[in-house]
């Protein structure tokens, strides 16, 4: 059974304090590792797709990386507007996304 585990469950940072979110996955026949951002009361917003170990993608203060067992979302010098829940999902043999429970990030000014 495909499984995606995210840690930590919640993270509180000061503005400018860089950190990383972890996503461990066991997904049969991985066809892509996806990162989404979700704000309260809204649907998930697509951020990145990673397909192979060693791949990296960046967008503003966010950088996603992928190994054979984990993915990391690095947040550099975060701002309060980066506060959200970040979801990781693997696309496997069922060709459907298996989501983790998310990391709730709060960035304080």
């Amino acid at each position: 059974e495909d499984q995606v585990t995210q840690s930590p469950e919640a993270l509180r940072l000061q503005e400018g304090e860089s950190s990383s979110l972890n996503c461990s996955y066991t997904v049969s026949g991985l066809r892509g590792l996806f990162w989404y951002r979700q704000d309260p009361g809204k649907g998930p917003e697509f951020l990145f797709t990673l397909y192979s170990a060693g791949e990296e993608k960046e967008k503003e203060r966010l950088k996603a990386t992928l190994t054979k067992k984990e993915s990391f979302l690095h947040i550099t010098a975060p701002k309060p507007e980066d506060s959200a829940t970040y979801l990781c999902a693997g696309n496997g043999g069922r060709r459907a996304l298996t989501f983790g429970s998310g990391t709730r990030l709060q960035v304080q000014p």
Binding site: F34, F46, L87, R95, A96, F99, S101, G102
Partner: protein, 113 residues
């Protein structure tokens, strides 16, 4: 480009009543998904359509849930009768093809009393 549209945004019903949710995907997207999201959890797939064909409905509780995607565009998800445990957010998503990135609608928050 318009995003995925869902309605209603909120729905409160009594248990045993029926309820329906509507989704209009991004134009040109062949694959449509319905997910259920409980508080503090990630979305869980209920059903996936490729055009008008339901190709993965293994997680859909078929005794009370049904879905359709007529003409391969809009989709409707129905629950009849609703139970207290059905209270959740129901998300619709679409993608160009299966396996591509999915784009989500704002969701419908269902409360069953």
């Amino acid at each position: 480009e318009a995003g995925v549209v869902q309605s209603p945004r909120y729905k409160i019903i009594e248990k045993k009543q029926p309820v329906a949710f509507w989704c209009n995907p991004i134009s040109g997207h062949n694959t449509l998904y319905w997910y259920l999201q409980n508080l503090g959890q990630g979305p869980e797939l209920l059903i996936r359509y490729e055009n008008e064909e339901a190709v993965d409905d293994s997680q859909l509780p078929k005794d009370r849930f049904s879905a359709e995607r007529l003409k391969g565009v809009d989709s409707t998800l129905k629950i009849q009768p609703a139970e207290l445990g059905d209270s959740a957010v129901y998300l619709c998503a679409s993608s160009l093809e299966t396996g591509y990135e999915q784009y989500f609608g704002p969701g419908t928050r269902l409360t069953v009393t």
